[in-house]
Amino acid sequence: MLNKLFKWGLKKSLWVYHAGASACNNCDIEILDLLTPKFDVERLGIVLVGSPRHADVLLVTGVANRQTAPRLKDLYDQVPNPKVVIAVGSCACSAHMFRDSYNVAKPIDEIIPVDIYLPGCPPKPEAMIDAIVKILGKIK
């Protein structure tokens, strides 16, 4: 019964932490769009939190270069279970046009386990909301 209560709480209030692994900030701007009055994800209970320890969802943007790759792993370890990782943008999904660059360490899903891939450069806010709805469907 407590488990059902917890699952209900998790569906209705997802707290998001934005971990930028050297992005060009385009995806970050689109993420901030979601909090503005036009899309307003706070009505779904989604809040942008300042500390990874408060978060349920880790939104990773950007290509993981040599400097940010170990830090991304540290951030992932600091998010308490149960957690969801969303790779936002084509750079986070697969390193995109930077895959042969000199400072790209690894694709993000070889550093941390990714649950949802969100391609786009940048993905539209509607696509992000669609991804969030897919997570809510995955929480059983």
Binding site: G9, S13, G45, G50, P80
Partner: protein
Amino acid sequence: MLSFIFIFLLTIIVGMLATWVDRKVTARLQYRIGPPWFQPFADFCKLMGKETMVPSGVSQMVFLGAPLIGLAGAALVSAILLTPGAGFVGDIIVVIYLLILPSLAVMLGGSASRNPLAALGSSREMKLVLSYELPFLLAVFTVMFKAGSILFSAVHGIPVLSFSGALAFLAALLAVQAKLGVVPFDIAEAEQEIAAGALIEYSGPPLAVFRLTRAMLYFVLPTFLVMLFLGGMDLWFPLKYVAVLTLIILIKNTNPRLRTDQAVRFFWGPVTGMAAVGFILALMGR
């Protein structure tokens, strides 16, 4: 015992609904829709189910005990204020002491977190408490002087309708705004600046208890103001409580955040001056 449990649950539920009203009104003023009414309860349920992560090398007793200290303070104050006929000599003073406990808990938790950002948040909270306690106490002393005693039940009439009472009410309202950690005085948990401040290392149930304490304060502090300044518990109590809550939300949504030094200067300057003038007027009998 049963009445204490009932009052505890009542404080939690009304306090959480008050935080929802705050979020909803803020959202509406920003042309957004805002969260549904059960949002604070969903946040609480979710946090209780997450795992608790304790940083290595911290004193586990202080780190995990700090939220409970805050909760105990808020719960005791709600018991003293809301149990009918439970007044005792000096209960106003006991309530003032107990109301420091939630801020103390945040300071303790932040200092115990072994994180420089948490220490920064904790020190900001300390400076804020230093600054607002002075006019808060002056305002409460004004009411105690007018009533001539230190019992809640001795406060009769409606103190806010007199000059001294009005000035004291304004000073106490601003101090309560800072106690709740609401803009313009939310420097201690300024998200954009210091990444969640003193509570940065808290996760799961301890964080849930901190947020629960804050929700309880949303009910307890305006009730305290109503009982001192607006004529206490009678049939008009819900209206008076909603009026004080509205004032707090109004001040929140029309002001930017103050820096620490601006907040300290504000409380030790104009607000203390206002509270002192109110006290002098009470001494003169107005």
